[in-house]
């Protein structure tokens, strides 16, 4: 928030009751785009509300070119799985979830140097 649009009245750090449990968060927010003001609802999966909001700021900046100063968080709620609406959230609601990592880039050891005699193996089955 810009200094011209508001004033900080209170600062409270949010501590999570269960910071090791994966939860779904629904975020209601209002933001000013280049052409107008929009109310939107977004969902995130995270272990903390703070993490979910951080994800939200990143996503708003990337998808909507909205910076922090133009975003106004209306509400954030932890929501049960059955009330989740977004496919990107519900696709991970599966206790039998299973997917491979298709393209792996080794980041340590052999490939630390700029030049290497061996090509890296990026496909790990």
């Amino acid at each position: 928030m810009k200094r011209a649009t508001g004033e900080i009245l209170n600062v409270t750090e949010l501590f999570e009751h269960k910071p090791t449990k994966v939860k779904n968060f629904g975020v209601f927010l209002r933001y000013n785009s280049r052409s107008g003001t929009h109310n939107i609802y977004k969902e995130y999966r995270d272990v903390t509300r703070v993490g979910a909001i951080a994800q939200m700021y990143d996503e708003m900046a990337s998808r909507h070119s909205a910076r922090e100063k133009s975003i106004h968080i209306i509400d954030i709620k932890e929501i049960p799985a059955k009330l989740c609406r977004r496919a990107n959230t519900t696709q991970f609601h599966d206790s039998q979830i299973k997917f491979p990592l298709t393209h792996r880039i080794p980041r340590n050891g052999l490939y630390k140097s700029v030049f290497s005699a061996k090509r890296p193996h990026t496909f790990m089955c």
Partner: protein, 159 residues
């Protein structure tokens, strides 16, 4: 469709952590946040229950029968039941880590001894390879000579 993949991100998969505070330790995947991040816990290896990026881990072939978001007690029980430590020690990644640790713990004289041993071994290997190559060459030469003799015998001499 038949998948070529055999290692999957799934609940109970044991992972080796390659970066950060818990480097070279194993942990178990207990929940999947999204395609990049998972919740891991390694009660026996000293890895706190925390969220980790999949870029920081490598998957191992071990999978534990645990439920999503399993608590420490049931996770510990599952680890005990399959004797995870033994299985982890047999992993190629663990062996590599152990070998690296042993090498870095060597003193100057130890490194010298290693060098001597290595050069001895290399000489032995080169000798053996050379021997085999020579044998093969000799055999090939013999064969060629024999064939040539056979060939020349068959052709009748013409005046």
């Amino acid at each position: 469709m038949i998948s070529k993949f055999s290692l999957f991100v799934q609940i109970g998969r044991v992972v080796m952590i390659n970066q950060g505070q818990f480097i070279n330790k194993t942990a178990v995947i207990l929940d999947v946040l999204d395609q990049n991040r998972v919740l891991v816990h390694g009660p026996t290896t000293g890895v706190d229950r925390h969220v980790i990026n999949l870029k920081w881990v490598s998957l191992t072939k071990i999978v534990l029968p645990v439920q999503r978001g399993a608590r420490s007690a049931s996770l510990n029980a599952a680890i005990k039941k399959v004797e995870l430590e033994k299985k982890v020690a047999e992993l190629p990644a663990s062996k590599l880590i152990a070998a690296r640790a042993a090498k870095s713990a060597l003193c100057d004289f130890g490194r010298f001894k290693l060098r001597v041993q290595k050069s001895k071994l290399n000489k032995k290997v080169t000798g053996l390879v050379r021997q085999k190559v020579n044998e093969a060459n000799r055999a090939a030469h013999k064969k060629a000579v024999a064939q040539k003799a056979k060939h020349t015998k068959k052709v009748p001499k013409t005046k």
